[in-house]
Symmetry: C2
Subunit: 410 residues, 2 copies
């Protein structure tokens, strides 16, 4: 089998990932929308606010009635009434009139600005002095100034942040259509793996990766489905994978770092209906022995067994696949969790592959310092001690001490 598959670059893998179809949608209530991926563009059905409102306590006026006024030359206006909160002002403003108004109050017809309380002085019960010129629109949110009728206010494929939920509330949307969360099955393989509740007998080890992957799926908006541990037997793994394709959109087969078990995982993937091996080896370290296959529309990953490798492959490749299936449009800011830091020492790297180096971050007087966490990718502790990773490009031989690097935080 190895003869037929050339190791792929990460860019080639990303291109393959982007050919998986975007998943189905569902309607949910707005209060469940936080962090979900919008599956419809949102058009404002009305002007927001639907009326011009004051943003200050003071007096609603016609701006031109204040032109030229100052502390030494105040304008005199007649207080024609007061706007009650949540009430429609009873009549339009005439020239030379003002209406008492509070923050949030609706401007009477003909009023187009608000003079702040502190720039006015009460002369008598119905007269005020205005000691400042106000411009049209000052201290006012005009009708439609926030959202215009028929304007697209949110886009299909964006992740809903608190302010987006607020904008949906503003236009009265109680239900929204979002992409379904991708369901991700986890299968652990390996005769040496035991459930975590067992004390491993000699030669066996607890199923770390199922838990790491479970949490990584949750953190990336997926629904994890744990299908358990299967021994290194073709039929067992085949039936678990078949179960996975029934229950999930993506199947992660964790373990099988040995050459034999890798070929075995690939053979199982190939035995599924409508299946095709898409990737068999990626030129990254750690993570080289990664397999990606499809069975119909379902994606199957063979992940390296080493905990650190497995997590880094998840972060690099599985996460973008979940975003793809989950309908997330590529954002302007794709790597939001990124800081610049200075390397504390030289980091060697082999040419011809991308290297990912775990990083511990310290803050010193010069800013952030990036300490590489060296250690075998079989050690989960190299990941718990790290706060992020740096990428060393394929054509770079290594990085020098003090060079400025992008640290992707996790």
């Amino acid at each position: 089998m190895k003869e037929f598959f050339k190791v792929k670059t990460s860019d080639e893998v990303f291109a393959i990932i982007n050919e998986f179809p975007v998943g189905p949608t569902e309607e949910i209530s707005l209060t469940e929308g936080t962090g979900r991926i919008l599956a419809e563009p949102i058009i404002s059905p009305e002007d927001m606010p639907p009326f011009s409102r004051s943003t200050m306590d003071g007096y609603a006026v016609r701006a031109r009635d204040t032109f030229g006024s100052s502390e030494s030359m105040p304008a005199l206006l007649t207080v024609a009434g007061s706007v009650e909160m949540g009430e429609l002002p009873s009549q339009a403003l005439s020239g030379g009139q003002a209406y008492r108004i509070l923050t949030g109050g609706m401007l009477p017809p003909e009023a187009n600005a608000v003079v702040m309380q502190e720039y006015t002085q009460q002369v008598d019960e119905t007269t005020i002095e205005v000691m400042k010129t106000v411009a049209p629109g000052e201290h006012v949110i005009l009708r439609g100034e926030d959202l215009k009728k028929r304007e697209e206010i949110l886009s299909r494929g964006q992740r809903l942040r608190p302010q987006d939920i607020g904008a949906l509330a503003a236009i009265g949307r109680q239900k929204i259509v979002v992409h379904q969360k991708p369901r991700v099955a986890i299968i652990s393989t390996g005769d040496e793996i035991v459930p975590i509740e067992e004390m491993p007998p000699p030669g066996k080890i607890r199923d770390i990766n199922a838990y790491t992957l479970w949490a990584a799926i949750l953190e990336n908006g997926g629904i994890p489905i744990y299908l358990g541990i299967v021994p290194d037997k073709f039929d067992d793994l085949h039936s678990k994978c078949a179960e996975g394709t029934e229950k999930a959109d993506v199947i992660l087969v964790s373990g099988g770092s040995s050459v034999g078990s890798r070929d075995f995982t690939a053979a199982v993937f190939e035995s599924l209906p409508e299946s095709q091996i898409l990737v068999h080896g990626i030129s990254v370290s750690p993570g080289k022995p990664t397999i990606l296959a499809r069975a119909g529309k379902k994606a199957l990953w063979g992940l390296p067994g080493h905990p650190a490798s497995s997590m880094i492959v998840f972060w690099l490749f599985v996460r973008p696949l979940l975003q793809r299936i989950g309908g997330l449009e590529p954002q302007i800011i794709t790597h939001s969790q990124l800081i610049k830091a200075r390397l504390s020492r030289n980091v060697p790297s082999a040419q011809g592959r991308e290297d990912y180096v775990r990083i511990r971050i310290f803050r010193d007087e010069t800013g952030y310092r990036a300490d590489p966490v060296f250690g075998k990718s079989g050690l989960i502790s190299t990941m718990t001690k790290a706060q992020g990773i740096i990428k060393i490009d394929m054509n770079t031989e290594g990085l020098d001490e003090n060079s400025l690097v992008d640290v992707y935080l996790f």
Copy 2:
């Protein structure tokens, strides 16, 4: 009341926030632990791995038996057996012997290194040539190399990431003690506010902030509890706040941006048992009219009514309070969601207060460009169009075009 309260700086407010007590803890199962705040230090009860394991397919050897060997001068070793995955090797290695082993296999006693398959050659059924010198520990994870018995592997107060969940799985922890999620009540005030399912009559407006805050609480690990809209009546707000202190750890009273309603909110807070106004005005913009009070151990916030102000105050001050109550220890990286960008134009700022300016980010050939989103803080659209904010210090008059700024993403 205003006479008694000087406007506070944000640092003064942070100091007050840090005097609120950390909340209670609860025991949960490991699979529920993602993103939760650990309330106990985690000590490894055993060496991990509990045995020395191979990280490659090849032969387990005594490293000294390979010293000096090379392609031109291979060492000859006797294959004494094979380690089955998950099995205890039956006997110790003698001098000049090798054991066939796969990735993850347990090293036999006396073996201390693994020679990769590709550096060996089969001579006959029981003899191999080793064409490379291996060092002790090479291609092996030694017993305790990942986690040492009695080592503190995770700290109290840290947020559990996928790798941390993996480390807990490695030591067999099925239950963990975490801090309870802070419960946060939301009360909307204002005679002009209507529920979002209603078409607002003239002069009224939908309850945007309750939804924005709901989502912001969820995103920051809290449990939102919506208590509804109350009119601007002392008794109504008083009884809602009393209900809030029964049901929640933190009460957010949203609305009341007018001077009168601010004083009214403060008066209600003061009327609660064991209450004290702690902050009445903060020297930030937007967000100046913010109130913080306590009633016993419960925190009450009077948030500005403008949607953008309300969100920024949440981000600046309520979020750190939730982190405090939720037990999160201040991290080395406190602002992980931060990118450096160049300002696309001058931004003015008043001295004597911190200004927070909403930012839209674009990527161009020189890196990230930060476009200020100007607009009134009453406009939710200024937040939906923004991807982050920048801070302009109290003693800065403004920022020049092209200056490099830290953009905090939200």
